[in-house]
Amino acid sequence: MSQTFAEKILAKKAGLDYTVPGQIVEIKPDVILSHDNTAPIYGLFQRMGGEKVFDPDMHAIIIDHATPAPSTKHAENHRIIREFVKEQGIKEFYDVGRGICHQILVESGLALPGEVVLGSDSHTPHAGVMGAFAAGIGRTEMASIWAIGELWLRVPESLKITVTGELGEGVTSKDLALTIIGDLKSDAAIYMSVEWHGEAIQALPLSQRATLTNLMAEMGAKNSFIPPDKKVFRFLKDRARRDYEAVYPDDDAKYIREVKYDGGSIEPVVACPHSVDNVKPLSEIRGTHIDQAFLGTCTNGRLDDLAAAAAVLEGKKIADGRRMIIIPASEAIYLAALQAGYLETFLKAGAVIESPGCGPCMGNHMGVPAVGEVSISTANRNFRGRMGTKESEVYLASPAVVAASAVAGVIESPANL
């Protein structure tokens, strides 16, 4: 029976020949991800009568949402997590400054083709960039996996996105993902598995592909998958923690919906306040005042994102009265950006560089906007209040557009600087 990626991998994990959408299976995930919410999940785990976790080697725990601790309350939360990790013998623990959880899973070879990753974070679908089945779950569910090692999953319907041709000059995977979310709208993929196919996707480097799987959470997706190819296998060569076996959809698998895009037709776009599907061409939004530019996050804080921004900022200055915050998505990216000279470019341009983590993305700290201010950001969400105050506006764009806007003081295309 022909199957989509989701149908096939869930069948494999459940020990079945095949599955169909709507079917419920019980599976043991290969990797379970939790971050700063590890401490409250621990509380739920204890309410269930949990003492020792089912398997400490399933866990990947990364402190990233508020790091280094912005308050004593946050620091206490971190302390509980460190104690928990030590007491349970969990090896894959990444303390403050190591990076953002989704980036760490990929970089550390923990998210592998043909494996199942469940995370108590809504952007867990990110790990689908490596060919894993990766989905976000709730805290109670995570606590239950800690206790009994497995969870029920509903086999999702699948949406197939095919992108032919290639993206044009100055067009990034961020523009592609935002264009599609703008067209299909934010409820288009609820409870679905979103598969990416076509030569325009294969041509993208892994870092740009990750922006696609990451952003599918904003269309309601359960998971998102890019068929792993040589680029993935090469990347994993000295990183993969275990042997793995990739799973691919059948050519004649049945999808609930198929959409096709010509990569060459995509142009730079901006997601405007206050929803990710409120997408407009950059050419229409140019000239909009900004107070702050933020480059970073799991969506666009990787090395080639920093390189794109450095190319724009080289020899230029952030506009008067504006500020730019830059946060590499991991320690490894930070070091590589240092060695490549990007950090010097950023500092000379007047930008502020902060330690790896989520930063101001969800309004915790490290550069939240004031009431009435406007931000342009490389993140994945621009909901009202997302960056800390309901009385501020957030625009989402690619790294080069964010950097160009910091220089111009208004939303601007790098081509017009």
């Binding site: 419920i24 739920l44 949990g50 709730g138 109670t140 569910e141 239950s144 609820i190 409870y191 359960k222």
Partner: protein, 166 residues
């Protein structure tokens, strides 16, 4: 699980968790038993005072979209609502329903046929909804999820499984 029988409360598409359980109560009302008082407050002010054990909500597409707050399910499961039948559910809402032992049934044909205020019967084990317009079937919940239901939700279920394995 016995048959579910009750009166229908029918609503439309894209009913979000803000109107099911208003955000302003999320940090002030923390006792599950207190939550039914505020259920559907911003959608149907009459609901909370009149809902009876076993009643059934019938919704359109994307029931429970928006914030993932679990209170939007608990305010209904604590009210002993019998089930929610909808064309589709927002993913996390659907999971929260099953994990709180509140049947969430996807059955577009039944949604079309059922009238507001009529009485319906649901046979969960065999997957049959009976209403004035006739009988409609839906895929019954598999054993794994039925066990969570019968235990009263995921917390008691996990607790039970842990104590059995020790």
């Amino acid at each position: 699980m016995a048959e579910i029988q009750g009166k229908v409360w029918k609503y439309g598409d894209n009913v979000n968790t803000d109107v099911i359980f208003p955000g302003k109560y999320t940090y002030t009302v923390s006792e599950p038993a207190e939550m039914p008082k505020y259920a559907l407050e911003d959608l149907d002010p009459e609901f909370a005072g009149a809902v009876q054990a076993g009643d059934v909500i019938v919704g359109g597409t994307n029931w429970g979209c928006g914030s993932s707050r679990e209170q939007a399910v608990v305010c209904l499961s604590e009210a002993k609502l019998g089930a929610i039948i909808a064309r589709s559910f927002a993913r996390i809402y659907y999971r929260n329903c099953l994990n709180n032992a509140l049947p969430a049934i996807v059955c577009p044909e039944a949604v079309d046929a059922i009238e507001n205020g009529e009485n319906v019967t649901i046979d969960l084990e065999n997957g049959i909804i009976t209403c004035q317009a006739g009988k409609f079937s839906f895929p019954p919940l598999p054993e794994a999820v039925m066990e969570i239901f019968n235990a009263g939700g995921l917390i008691p279920y996990t607790k039970k499984r842990l104590s059995e394995s020790n």
